[in-house]
Symmetry: D2
Subunit: 377 residues, 4 copies
């Protein structure tokens, strides 16, 4: 399994580590080989190649997607570059894994999903939180009907790195590069988890805010002096109806002081409830209406036992895992899909579905009305 | 201070206890005398009079509001009876304390607020959660600017006594008596706290659901046999813009399994954050962006010290108080307003303001659009 | 039920409130009448009588214990005065409730317990924490065998009002008045809870420390200028074996910064575990080894439901109670014992048993060896 | 840096992963090469070599410790084999890392520490919990005097895999192989953390229990039929005095239902407090007596920021790490010590110091008295 990876920063490192570790813990899967890493900045990418253990490096992604030895292309560039690379990779018969959001417009996402479905390749969009064992446990409990019919869902993803008005400008604040702000970055995860756990969205009503409209240049750009305009949202919230009748509320923010990486949900069903917060990623809280009267309450399950999803491969009960493990499990899913020639999940169609929801929220914000989520693929 | 109280059940007991205890802990205030308790059911009210220590009882509220010895009328009947009693009491020159929601329509609430403002009497609407010491502490921190400018607010009030589809029918499920369901019952508190802590609402977009549309008769009515239709909401959520630019999300539910009485909020400001949940009513969580790098985090303050609001009157630090104390503090506010002839807070105008928000949410649900909150009084 | 109370400060107020409220919530019990309150300081006690609603006051406790109208004597003076008053009250045929620790020496405690047992009166030692509903729930679960055989117990009572070396001198720091420090004050409660929940102690090994050996005079005594020596412990810990084979660790401290009133325990049994901390007094955490594999974890029970001990008298589920309610329940126990002529629990014998354990710990500290707890009564 | 590793099970896997990953995240350090893995069972070790990525395997540890290419010997066998291997490795001039407890008798530990100190080699005992970032942060705060002078320390390490009386017999229950039970396995960590955070022990008083004295054979040995006697403790608790005057309580248990891997501590100082529990390993709770009155409370610090120890190498704030990272940091410490020729910490002398404390506790249990901890090295 020869990998070519485009992008080498935060996500590049997380993905690299997943390729590095996956076979140590899941020895039955395919062996990924870190063949070529690619980035625009020669110095940066060559240094990354050395540190992250890639055999070759390149500054031309075309070289990677057309390289005959490459089996799998991993795309973790800024969002506006996803489409072109992914289409080229698919056209060249490569399997593709792409960071979220799949694209910065719904049209682009659809084009990518269609190309992926028509190719014979495996494709994955890297909604890594689906691979948190505690979240998989939640999914299992839901599928078993343990909390009955879902009635209410609350999803949120709160960060705080933009709370300070003096935090400098970065590419993630430029709509033309990032597509949107907290919405595309964080609601993308929240929406995907809701789809994973509850089902498809029907309609939405949203609102968003940019609290700090101009930001100073970053340290490296200090000579440019001028403040730059923030063209994306700091926070976006929305209400949702699901196709199965459940109601939902969603919040994404990058200005929620003290919430470093609070990606969570609460689910209330006819027979129980489930809560999760990524800041305590090894825990799941479960309430069961069937417990004896007088003995009811939320139970904190430490999802670290060998019977919990993925945990047989790790440590004894109580020995938690961390953020990066979600990528190992995601890569495992992709490798297993390739190995056994079955569909990968989540794939580009999931990426499109997610984009349809995000797009409907943006339309709703513009029109100040409820907007129906597109359901055609 | 002779009290006449209309209503004698859950809230009647809570209010009675407040009159009973207030002077023991706040000896400087007026001495309330429990003179007449009133209810429709002769057997019920006479028994309540004995147990709750009222000198007289009556089945005719007119008798109470016109009784020459009565100084203060306490109304804790079902919501649809509030208006008529309150107007009569005010007309007879009585001070009035009324349970929330003030009325079941906006028009009624306005009429009550106008009558109250025009009377020389003191009037209070019993938003008792304002009197939780930890919430008062939150208010103090906000007023001092400790978390800067508020950007995001999340308010919720989740209960679960209707989760079970076999929970029987009660008057609170009848729109003609209760006005609405979780919305008027629980969002009323959530909206009032948001007004107290953040400021006035500007516009809202809501949704609501009734998950169990028909319920069996209660044990006492079992011979009636037939299921009755639920004409109020089980859960109502909404988005909000505040006049000061903050954004908000709100959730009220009576079907949130495991959340017995989760009345809470999260506030994110430009310089810090605050969290509260009534299920741990003696705690307030505070995050301060000004803490040293590496030492930042949410701090759990046990709001039980003599320097915390109201707590000088109670026990040493760490010895928490309970639900009923909120009513003691509310009654104290009213007695002090009467004693010093100053406005009471929250009063009927606050009740009206709250109703304006609740009403706008209902209009928004009907129109499927954002609705501006009335700002005229 | 005419009450005469000796002492009128922190505990006097808590007890007064219990007499004031008990019949409002437990209408079937006897009606306590606050007849005489007694204290050495005329100005203080007369003011207390007014504020706390006692009909008469006195500066002579002899007057109270011999007063023909008095049925019940309530003793909440400093510990060194307990014995003389209690013996006199019993001799005069009064029922007696006494604050803990029963006495400041084991001999005194034994004399009191013997006198109490020989009298026909009801006697209670005010281990009020036994009356926390969540702790009663723990007791119920233990009695039902829900956690199997108890193997390990950890009890602690941590406060922090002496953390600051500048906190002033008070009578509680004088061995001749208080008997001991954190040990008698706080371990008394911890030991009583352990006896209540697990059973009798067999032997102990202890250690103690006084970290701040001299303290400045209090504000009122500032003219005296001189620092005074602290003759009691700031913290005392001990190991214990129980008669049933369980092992225990105990900690009491008044210098545990941030622990305002952390009276708690953890119990590990052959089939489950229980945890409690008074700072969240409405919660009990329970672990059941019999839960399904993969669904095991500590469950947080909000012990506020009508099926929980004492809670039928209070508010709907989720509406917590506070510190003072423990005294209402304690007084209820005493009144019911008097009303139905049955033994009261905990009574003076429990006070003696507790003292035997505390005394053994002190002997162990002195001898630097394990010491067997006296088991004779 | 050629590694030879003896042992290949739980700890072998954790150590292997550390060698595998360390340079990916800490690129400046030495490059460890997994040369030879060694174990008694040929089939087991050969399979481990393949899965864990070791170049060679052996069933003879002598071969490893004498192998000319080996620079570093990693010992993670059962405890009774540590000494012989370590001495041989040191004699052959190898650097050594050894799992805890260093040895099963104090004499053995001393012999090992002496040999290590006399060799020119680097030596480490694998007290991996010292390398949890949140614990390092605690250490930093202590060193900076942020909580003043330490007065009370509570250390505990609670697990529950032996709670069930039907859990089968394993080598860890045989004194001749394991040395002791919960005491050597878990108190070893608790003692080391206390030494790391507070300082040296002076004297101790302990107790221990074996609740399940005989256990059934494991599934593989089922044909042997007979139950085997458990010759180690299920739980051991002890009191301690530290040389600096602080007092301590310690608990280790493998029968604490629901506590999967609860390795924690509470530290109370003259100016603040610190709490930690490994089950939430990314969090540290800190209380500062210097906070403003009314704003005091325990703060939950998510120790995941780039300014926190080791965290610059990992992910953005809020993205937690897991159990295995402690080994990566431990290996980094060893590699850096080798690279820069400085002492490694913790080393074999720390292992001896720990053993001295554990040994004193065992003597205390036998003699039923306080026992002074040996302080000679």
């Amino acid at each position: 399994m020869n990998i070519g990876m485009i992008g080498y920063k935060f996500m590049g490192k997380a993905h690299t580590h997943a390729y590095h570790d996956v076979k140590l813990f899941f020895p039955e899967t395919l062996a990924p080989r870190r063949l070529i890493i690619c980035g625009r900045d020669e110095r940066g990418v060559s240094r990354a190649a050395t540190q992250l253990g890639w055999e070759q490096w390149s500054t031309d992604w075309n070289e990677v997607v057309t390289h005959p030895a490459i089996d799998l292309v991993d795309i973790n560039t800024p969002s506006n570059a996803h489409k072109e690379i992914a289409l080229a990779a698919l056209k060249n018969g490569k399997h593709v894994i792409c960071e979220k959001p799949l694209a910065i417009t719904l049209e682009d996402a659809r084009e990518m999903a269609e190309a992926a479905e028509q190719s014979g390749a495996k494709h994955m969009v890297c909604f890594n939180y689906r691979f948190v064992p505690a979240i998989r446990l939640a999914k299992k409990l839901l599928d078993e009907g343990r909390i009955g019919q879902v009635r209410q869902y609350r999803g949120w993803f709160l960060q705080d790195w933009l709370t300070d008005k003096d935090a400098p400008y970065v590419w993630r604040l430029d709509r033309s590069v990032a597509g949107s702000g907290a919405h595309g970055d964080l609601n993308a995860h929240a929406v995907d988890l809701a789809r994973f756990l509850v089902g498809e969205f029907q309609e939405v009503s949203g609102m968003s805010r940019t609290f700090v409209t101009h930001r100073q240049p970053s340290a490296e750009e200090m000579d440019e002096a001028a403040f730059r305009e923030v063209t994306v949202d700091d926070a976006t919230s929305f209400l949702a109806c699901f196709e199965n009748g459940a109601m939902g509320t969603f919040e994404a923010s990058r200005v929620a002081g003290g919430r470093r990486c609070a990606n969570g949900f609460e689910i209330y069903g006819s027979e129980g409830s489930i809560r999760f917060n990524f800041e305590r990623m090894n825990e799941l809280e479960v309430y069961d209406t069937g417990d004896d009267a007088g003995s009811q309450g939320f139970k904190t399950i430490l999802a670290t036992e060998s019977c919990h999803p993925y945990m047989h491969a790790w440590w004894p009960a109580g020995h938690g895992i961390g953020f990066e493990h979600t990528f190992i499990h995601a890569v495992l899913e992709l490798l297993e899909a390739i190995k056994t020639d079955r569909p990968c999940s989540p794939n580009f169609t999931d990426g499109l579905r997610c984009q349809q929801v995000l797009d409907a929220v943006e339309k709703s914000i513009a029109s100040r009305q409820w907007v129906r989520v597109e359901s055609n693929l």
